[in-house]
């Protein structure tokens, strides 16, 4: 499944609708669906807030092959930002004492099995991978 969304937080409802349809079609269990939804929201929001290309679209592609679900967020941007290189959150520190920022990426990393980043010819791609059990519902 693929759909393009305006680079705007007001697109989130449509993004969730897209992910709900995908989860239903692929019979994902609620835990896997939650993890993917949260990870997509965190990276979508990061792109909206921090991308160097303010206008434009974010393409989301979701697919399941056997026990592997892969979701890609694609954006045309002049400057790459490798999300896999973001410093890990210091979870040993109480949330009240932490430096602000980084929580969303921390949650996404913990809830996914793999996170990849590619940048080629102006196209930035964040790839989220989640393993699901065969026949998961």
């Amino acid at each position: 499944m693929h759909e393009d969304f305006h680079k705007d937080l007001r697109s989130l409802d449509a993004v969730f609708e897209f992910l709900d349809k995908f989860a239903l079609r692929e019979r994902l269990d609620s835990k896997a669906a939650y993890a993917l939804t949260l990870a997509v929201e965190e990276f979508f929001t990061n792109i909206v807030k921090y991308s160097k290309a303010k206008a434009g679209m974010i393409g989301i592609n979701a697919a399941r092959t056997g026990e592997t679900v892969t979701v890609k967020l694609e954006e045309e941007t002049p400057i790459p930002f490798d999300v896999t290189l973001v410093e890990p959150l210091h979870v040993a520190v109480s949330p009240a004492a932490r430096t602000p920022g980084g929580l969303g990426i921390h949650l996404a990393r913990c809830m996914l099995d793999e996170l990849r980043y590619d940048y080629e010819e102006g196209m930035s791609t964040i790839t989220l991978i989640k393993q699901v059990r065969e026949g998961n519902v």
Binding site: L9, R10, L12, D13, F16, S30, K31, Y34, T37, L38, E41, E42, T45, V91, S94, P95, A96, L103, G104, H106, L107, C110, M111
Partner: protein, 94 residues
């Protein structure tokens, strides 16, 4: 769809999806809370880091006056998010 309201017992009732597009509405609501309060998650399906940030800011503000938020009726998926974020260390969760 997200909503925030006060129920008949005076508890804050969250419902739907508390995502990054809802933080302004939620922040305005929580900014009006000046005493200890119970936040009922019974109708909340989803929360992301954006929602956690609003709750954390409120908790930190209340804590300065010796007050706190108590969180109740959290579903297991949301409870997991709180655990991963280690927000269970700073909120009383029932």
């Amino acid at each position: 769809m997200f909503s925030i309201s006060t129920d008949a017992r005076g508890n804050v009732l969250l419902a739907g999806r508390f995502d990054a597009s809802q933080t302004d509405q939620a922040r305005q609501f929580f900014d009006r809370i000046s005493d200890s309060a119970t936040v009922d998650f019974v109708a909340l399906d989803y929360i992301s880091s954006a929602g956690l940030g609003v709750l954390l800011a409120t908790q930190q503000r209340l804590k300065k006056d010796g007050k706190a938020l108590k969180l109740i009726h959290m579903n297991p998926l949301i409870r997991d998010v709180f655990r991963i974020a280690r927000f269970d260390l700073i909120f009383h969760i029932e």
